[in-house]
């Protein structure tokens, strides 16, 4: 099969409007056993959040999002995940988003003020923060690994 030729990836951070953010709720590589931070943290404010989650930004904006920071992780060099930390204007905004994402198969977990877990994702809120961690594969043990990472993020909020 024809392979699309490989070249250096063009850095897109300038064009996508992201910027550095002072607060850092993201655990460094190795801080949580098995997890490496594999990207720089990108931060978006409400007005340019569409550049990160176009089509999904509106629900966060209506709930009062101030900034959203995101970073990629990898567990034991294999399981890829993304951590999004949404800083809302108040705890009510975080609650609104968490409750909107509830489904009957959500498992309640002890994280922050409230949290739920699925096989490939964990969502929790703590004060004005709403954290969503998503893995891109379903592997044995993924849920526990994600929970460990989630606790690491919670400890930094």
């Amino acid at each position: 099969m024809f392979a699309v030729a490989a070249l250096a990836i063009v850095a897109a951070t300038a064009a996508t409007g992201c910027k550095k953010h002072q607060a850092d709720p993201f655990p460094a590589s190795g801080a949580i056993a098995g997890w490496d931070k594999t990207s720089d943290t990108r931060t978006f404010d409400a007005k340019n959040l569409w550049q990160y989650i176009d089509g999904d930004a509106e629900q966060y904006i209506s709930a009062g999002v101030v900034t959203t920071s995101t970073s990629d992780y990898k567990y034991q060099g294999q399981l890829e995940a993304t951590v999004d930390v949404h800083t809302m204007g108040d705890p009510g905004g975080a609650r609104k988003i968490l409750e909107a994402g509830q489904t009957k198969d959500a498992k309640t977990v002890q994280l922050g003020d409230a949290g739920v877990a699925f096989a490939q994702s964990v969502i929790f809120r703590k004060g004005p923060f709403l954290v969503r961690i998503v893995a891109y594969e379903s592997t044995p043990g993924a849920e526990q690994s994600l929970l460990a990472l989630a606790h690491g993020v919670e400890a930094k909020l």
Partner: protein, 331 residues
């Protein structure tokens, strides 16, 4: 049960005609088929497309693509079939969708399968551009950026840039990506099927939000009439002529971002020229899955994809949303 050859003969004879009817050489006319007045949509499925652990089988993707294109064109040999879809000597764009991230983006296996068939049909590598909004979206699809002019190019609007002057239709007043306006002479649309919390469903027409600079300005009122108006802008309407929709994986709730708890594998491609009929078919697929999962209909959540009917109305005439005027082939 009919053989594949018999099936193609009886349902898709002489499906497409090249050249003279289309400025771009795209086989735009359905001719001599069972009912030439109907918009043809092919829904091709392979239940074994994913392995038990969820990995796509590249070979089966190629085979599924070949079956879909054969059914649509009525030509069983891939090279012949593709010659009825793409013009020779023109630059062909493949507009993917990587907005949802790695878990729910147009699959690289499909893109590579199409690139291979395009070349077998006589399209040179240098005449193929795979593109999306930016490098990150392309990476999410599993693609690697390349701007080598002698090979298949793969880059985003972040590299290609946007036109300085906006173009308009209805409420859409947008600056088009130069990849669309200047580089490509024909575009094959490769959306990924997803629920969309604003628009209801995102698939063929909604994927065009990735060819403008500020798509968020087209979001009000459930993207209606934003989606329809955008697709009526002449450059979009005339160049984007064919959809090979990726419904191999999908999210039926929580989209357009990746929600693995709502991930589902329809294991299908949805193929057609009529973008409205393609989107209507995709919408019904999402609704069937939502019903199966016990999730309310999009209508019940007050977010049906109203833009589909708008796209079919007399102001837009982009295609049909009337099932009686569609010929949906499930293979």
């Amino acid at each position: 049960m009919k053989s594949r050859r018999e099936f193609i003969k009886t349902t898709a004879t002489g499906a497409l005609i090249l050249g003279s009817q289309s400025k771009l050489g795209l086989a735009a006319m359905l001719d001599k088929q069972t009912d030439a007045t109907k918009s043809r949509v092919v829904v091709a499925r392979d239940a074994a497309l994913h392995s038990p652990v969820g990995q796509l089988d590249d070979k089966r993707v190629q085979d599924l693509l070949d079956r879909a294109i054969a059914a649509f064109t009525g030509r069983e040999k891939p090279a012949e079939a593709w010659k009825r879809i793409v013009p020779v000597g023109k630059v062909v764009g493949l507009k993917v969708n990587g907005l949802g991230g790695k878990g729910i983006s147009t699959h690289a296996a499909l893109v590579l399968a199409i690139c291979e068939r395009l070349q077998q049909a006589g399209v040179k590598p240098s005449e193929i551009i795979v593109w999306d909004r930016n490098a990150r979206d392309l990476e999410a699809c599993g693609l690697t950026v390349s701007t080598d002019p002698n090979r298949i190019r793969c880059f985003g609007n972040d590299v290609g840039g946007y036109e300085d002057q906006p173009v308009s239709f209805g409420i859409a007043n947008v600056k088009l990506a130069k990849i669309l306006s200047r580089e490509c002479e024909m575009v094959i649309n490769l959306p990924i099927l997803k629920d969309h919390q604003l628009a209801g469903v995102t698939f063929s027409m909604k994927n065009m939000y990735g060819v403008v600079q500020r798509p968020n300005e087209l979001h009000p009122n459930g993207c209606n009439p934003g989606v329809a108006d955008l697709n009526c802008i002449p450059t979009v309407r005339e160049k984007v002529r064919f959809t090979i929709g990726d419904a191999m994986s999908s999210v039926y709730q929580g989209g357009p971002t990746f929600h693995p708890e709502h991930l589902w594998q329809p294991n299908a491609l949805i193929v057609g020229e009529d973008r409205v009929a393609v989107d209507h078919t995709a919408w019904q697929m999402i609704e069937r899955k939502r019903a199966e999962a016990g999730v309310p209909t999009l209508e019940a959540e007050n977010r049906p994809p109203r833009y589909i009917a708008t796209a079919a109305d007399s102001d837009h005439r982009l295609g049909t949303n009337d099932p009686k005027r569609m010929h949906v082939m499930e293979i």
